[in-house]
Amino acid sequence: MTEFLQQLINGLSLGSVYALIALGYTMVYGILRFINFAHSDVFMVGAFAGFYLSRYFPRESFGGGLAVMLLAMLLCAALGIVIERLAYRPLRKGSNLAVLITAIGVSMLLENTGQLIFGADYKAFPTLFPVRTIVMPGGLDLSSNQLLVFGVTAALLIGLQFIVLKTKIGTAMRAVSFNHQAASLVGINNDRIISFTFGLGSALAAAGGILYSMLYPSIDPYMGVLPGLKAFVAAVLGGIGNIPGAALGGLLLGLIETFVNGSRFSTYTDAIAFALLILILIFRPAGLLGKFQAEKV
């Protein structure tokens, strides 16, 4: 039982990170019907930003850790906006395929430039926040990092829901995701809203990157590839374009993966996410909370 609960905790903390990344995918898809392949690499940049920024702030302190995270989020928000502006916006009118290929190109560019600048070797992520192990009843171990992961994810999720549901810009986001033309007709500046969405999603990815590195403190330029793909699966699982769905999908996938990893099928852990994706797309393409939209003939 303890084992089970321990796995549960581990699964939920991993799932929280997936949820944060998945949100970026789902928001961009919701607004542009486009899978931002490079999103996983913004996650990686976030982690590295945290790595390098941590030199300028006190280690093992709440204030320092928070500052690093916020700065990394801002940096990656800017990166996301720049990518959209330079690589995606010019192709918005063209075929969806062209943008997808460009996104793959951007992803490769980030990974390989990262390799060039940061070096291909694994780096040890510094301790941003003070680490304690909280021993819970029943012999469970909860690390303060995991607690932070839950806390930060929850805070960010609540913040996101607030922005999307209660602010003017959030309403504009939702309007654009329903109908581009109608949105611009009522005076919404689509370009700015799209930039904002990219910025928001990238900031969340950066947070995810730092939290992930707190849990698994070994970072390298290709660290985003697998978590990114898995987070994408999570977004589809929850219903792509659906924000609560992405969170739900992320948590579920984190749990599934952790339990598989602890079982005798652990060598297939990575393949599980893909198998899940294929199954979802065949049997329930709308995901758990989404709506499937048919093509108009």
Binding site: V99, G105, L109, P285
Partner: protein
């Protein structure tokens, strides 16, 4: 289409035989050729087969597949398994007169079986994926490619994560170019027929194609299966050239490298794709000093192509047939 029509005006089989004969002659002279050039030619031949076969799926039929390396892996492992494990049982002694012929026959058989295994994989991948469009299809094929890789990583009898070594060096210039020539012949003749126009129709507008009586699912599956078959043969050729294969060599990056060739050449332009495959095989050789920048170059190439010239480098804008 017009130019191809003139070339193929009734004589494609003759061309095929001539090309194969030329390949045979090339092989006979291969001992005269600088081994480094031979090496590069081999790489070119394998890449041409990969690119032309992917072009059938991505270019002509418009199914954006990102898992081609997975089919290559299936072919490579299957062919290697046959020659490594079956060879000692079937082949006569090395001193025997028939050794050369028997080895050739074994290799040919292994390549074919590898291709068929890959074709089966193509069917398994294609069938469920086909109702998906664009982005989703791309991700799912990528997923399948990764699943195939993980499966091979878990088969210990084929080397597992460490890979399979000691593959006999059966690949030579005849096999490589022979397969490339046959692959090109198959793809081009298939597409340039009334039946084959259907592939392009499916790519251009699936709904309209269905309305004109085309079974679009069948077309897509045929494209996947044929494309996968040749990718599998290319994989078998690669395995017996590199002499050792491992799952990491057939990852998503490998698939992307082939995709870049198809895009650079112009989707659905076989001649252009062949040119692109040659160029992108030679480029790393010429720029060997800058090898660390190779992937950065590829990524900038991809982005640049999409922004500036999405029709590829080798597709020339034909003058409008109708003047104003």
């Amino acid at each position: 289409m017009h130019r191809v029509k003139t070339i193929f005006a009734g004589r494609p089989k003759t061309l095929l035989l001539a090309a194969l004969a030329g390949t045979f002659v090339l092989w006979l002279c291969s001992s005269q050729i600088n081994p480094y050039y031979l090496d590069v030619l081999t790489k070119i031949g394998i890449n041409v087969t990969l690119a032309v076969s992917l072009n059938l799926i991505n270019g002509y039929t418009g199914q954006f597949s990102l898992g081609h390396a997975g089919f290559m892996a299936v072919g490579a492992y299957t062919a290697a398994a046959i020659t490594l494990f079956g060879g000692p049982k079937i082949l006569p002694a090395e001193s025997s007169h028939f050794f050369g012929v028997a080895t050739g026959g074994l290799f040919f058989g292994a390549l074919i079986v590898g291709g068929l295994a890959a074709a089966l994989a193509g069917l398994l991948v294609g069938a469920p994926s086909l109702r998906l469009k664009g982005d989703y299809l791309a991700i799912v094929t990528l997923g399948f490619g990764e699943i195939i890789r993980v499966i091979f990583r878990n088969i210990d009898s084929l080397g597992g994560a460490l890979g399979l070594n000691g593959i006999p060096p059966y690949t030579n210039i005849f096999w490589v170019f022979g397969v490339a020539v046959v692959c090109t012949y198959v793809v081009v003749t298939m597409v340039h027929s009334t039946y084959g126009r259907g592939f392009i129709a499916v790519r251009d507008d699936e709904v309209a194609a269905e309305a004109m009586g085309l079974n679009t699912t069948r077309y897509k599956i045929v494209a996947f299966v044929v494309g996968a078959f040749f990718a599998g043969m290319a994989g078998g050729l690669y395995g017996h050239y590199a002499l050792s294969i491992d799952p990491k060599g057939f990852d998503f990056m490998r698939s992307i490298e082939i995709v870049v060739m198809v895009i650079l050449g112009g989707m659905g332009n076989t001649g252009g794709v062949i040119a692109a495959a040659v160029l992108l095989t030679l480029l790393p050789e010429w720029l060997r000093r800058f090898d660390q920048y190779r992937m950065i170059f590829y990524s900038l190439l991809l982005i640049g192509l999409m922004l500036a010239r999405p029709q590829g480098l080798f597709t020339w804008k034909r003058k409008p047939v109708l003047q104003a």
